[in-house]
Amino acid sequence: MMAEEFFAVGKSFPRKDSLEKAIGDGLFGADIRMPRMLVGKILRNPYAHARILRVHTEKAERLPGVKSVLTAKNTTTRPFNSAVYQEQLENQRIFDDEVRFVGDAVAGVVAVNEEVAEVALGLIEVEYKPLPAVFDPVESMRPGAPRVHSTPDNNIAAHLDFGWGDIDAGFKEADYVFEDTFSTSGQKHCQLEPDACIARYGLDGQLSVWTPTQEPHITRFKLARLFDLRESQVRIINPLIGGGFGARNALSIEPWCVAMALKVKGRPVRLQYTREEDFVTRVNRFPMIYNLKIGVKKSGSLVAMRADVVADAGAYATHVPGVVALSGSFLLSRYKCQNTKFLADVVYTNKQPAGAFRGYGNPQATFGLEVMMDRVAEQLGVDPVEIRLNNHLGVGDIGLFQIPFSSVGIDECLKKGAEAIGWKEKMSRTNVQLTHRRGVGVAISTHGSGGWPAILEHTASLITINPDGSANLILGSTDMGQGCWTSLSQIAAEELGIRFEDIIVIRPDTSVSLYDSGSHASRQVYVAGTAVKIAAANAKRQLLERASKVLSVSVNDLEAKNGEIYIKNAPEKSVAIRQLAADSIVKMGACGQIIGRSSYEPKSNAPSWQATFAEVEVDIETGQVKVVKLVVAHDIGRAINPAIVEGQIQGAALQGIGYTLTEDLLLTKDGKIPNPNFTDYKIPSTLEVPDIEVILVESNDPTGPFGAKGVGEQGLVNVAPAIANAIYSAIGKRFKELPITPETILRVLKDQVIQ
């Protein structure tokens, strides 16, 4: 079916929540005001690793205005894992008698206002016994390295070993073997809103939490487990959310805020992090060292692929082994190859914990693999576009988590992208004599729409028809800015046959919303979208049955569109949905309110594909890299809302440019982050925006709602190798470490001159 046949799908409607955001009316966590609200603050530790001998809280407790002081002595020390699912490895604690990174929580204060809380923190005296610390994951695995936790004694949180075929035979069969080591940095999410959470534990035993979590239902489960409550006692409400990107995956600030609320029953407590707290204590992208080895035949086909990975988990297990396991899956589910091996150690160090971040292990895998594919192409004398066209997996091939691909639009992405950047002409350009040298590069990737069958994928959806013919779409789906409330409304409108404007989104609140696994893994449109479509079809069926009585025709002869149900062959005969809806609620003797429902688990993960083409200009005197143009061609399946899809891809691409060129959390010798602010940790501003051209390829996936697949993450995934390959084409140097800074470029160019 062509997009023109739809009336709600495929249109760039304004977002459901953009008016309130444009006028300053919408409430984010920190904007919520409540009567008798108290504020919380956390005391943080200055050592990379230390034992806490004693915490003296008496002076702080005596300060007027202080309501409670929390330590490991009076707060649950039950271990938890903040990440979505992953209950098998729990070693985070609200407060502990050992601190494992600079900024780890030591104590908390609840007070009448921020100032009092701040003063109270200063009155808490802590006796520490500093312990040896380790920051480098490779060093951390060596015998005799300081232990981050009492177990395991080698600091290895998880070891992964998977693949297929015979890897040794594969390399024997190869005509060429390529091997390289790549390393990637610990990028920060830098969502513009620092974490802010409000929790209130009522005297009736009901805990309410207003939090920017990306997974309200899983957060409810995790908080109930941590505080020994029944899930029905816990209510999670999403205010507006100032960005997520994985930072708000399941638990973030909530355990501390809830612990505080439990100390002052009946009164709401607001806990808000500063930007520095966000930088220093919250999760970052897993840094990984990727040793990659590929065996290739003269014909250009891949016969062996092996990765040996060391991943830096930081001080605690969050997404262990999730991010690293998926990194391997993304690595091996792109090109045809009969013999593969993925070996990884996920290692603790005395640094802030790593976690989920847009791409979930895919950017780390893709950086190495796509730079290496460029080397392979060069060695074989094949065009880099060609080698990708020849080797990528196709429809029916086994893909992510052993599920066959249901749609693969990467050929179209590569061809249209190459055309748009002027690939052929720019690849043959020579510019060695210039100080500003231009080059172009390409990279591809594929990313799942949801995580089935590796993880639970469940969305239940509820649609109720109001007496005026509008519909309440009751969502458990978090919108952290990605726009799913709007896209899901379009799916509901299209299926129900009512106008987009008549869909009213009831926002995530676990006391009302049915179960949803949450906003991660680019899953909302693909999984929740299907759940919404089924619920809408269920409600529509009930409307059609009523209409068939009014119009005296069979249900099969009817169609719904724009709020009217009409006879297919005689469209002038119709009845308004408004009338049917009113009858269903208030017509005596005819009541039967229309409620559409679904409870849905997908049977596929419909990966989307992306080709990114970068054109860069390298200043060989300063080492500065300017991204002149990016062309991002994305096989989206179907764009439910093209403007939203473009916005996702543009935003992700710029985040990818930051990952490639500027963003890096630094570390001092004693384990402190010296750049916990936007001046020293440089995310792209308007001045770094290149011309980004987005090309949407609609492969119309047979398993997605109206053919749609996920789009949230992949925009970022292959930007780094596309730029790295473009830099190579400009100056003939390969960079294997992220970020690629002017200093590293100058160092490499200088070495060349000396030689």
């Binding site: 953009s18 999410h189 969502q191 513009l192 100032g242 916005g647 935003g651 691409a653």
Partner: protein, 161 residues
């Protein structure tokens, strides 16, 4: 509880003259959000690096997190809540909505007010001038392209008004 000496300060906020007792260490951001409940002005860093707290002070964009509230005595302040007139949106607000320039929306109030300050001085800016004027307002969602397009479009609409 601690108490501080306060200074009476009178300023105009969104067209209303307001007199408040202000503690000398309080920032304009604190006063707007905590004393006047104008929570449309956002706090992203408190160190003047992200631009989320931008408001207009006598028509110019300033960072309210770096502005001591007592220094605004006698001045005219416009926050995002005061930009629209009644129910009619400011052209920047309409353009941001229509161009998909808003994702999470946390940077939006500051971004719109910085753009407003630019358009007050330069009703017909080039994309490069828009980028320069908005370079102190960070956005982590959009990649800025739709924001720049929205400002260009709003400038057109204002010029036609």
């Amino acid at each position: 509880m601690q108490t501080h000496r306060t200074s009476p300060t009178t300023f105009t906020v969104n067209g209303r003259t307001i007199r408040v007792e202000i503690e000398p260490h309080k920032t304009l951001l604190d006063v707007l959000r905590d004393d006047l409940d104008l929570t449309g002005t956002k706090c992203g860093c408190e160190t003047g690096e992200c631009g989320a707290c931008t408001v207009l002070l006598d028509g110019k964009a300033v960072l309210s997190c770096l502005t001591l509230a007592v220094t605004t005595d006698g001045k005219n302040i416009v926050t995002i809540e005061g930009l629209s007139e009644g129910e009619a949106l400011h052209p920047l607000q309409s353009a941001f909505i229509e161009h998909g320039a808003i994702q999470c929306g946390y940077c939006t109030p500051g971004m719109i007010l910085s753009a407003n300050s630019l358009l007050n001085d330069n009703p017909n800016p080039t994309p490069e001038e828009i980028k320069k004027a908005l370079s102190g307002n960070l956005c982590r969602c959009t990649g800025y392209q739709k924001i720049i397009e929205a400002v260009e479009d709003a400038a057109k609409r204002i010029r036609r008004m």
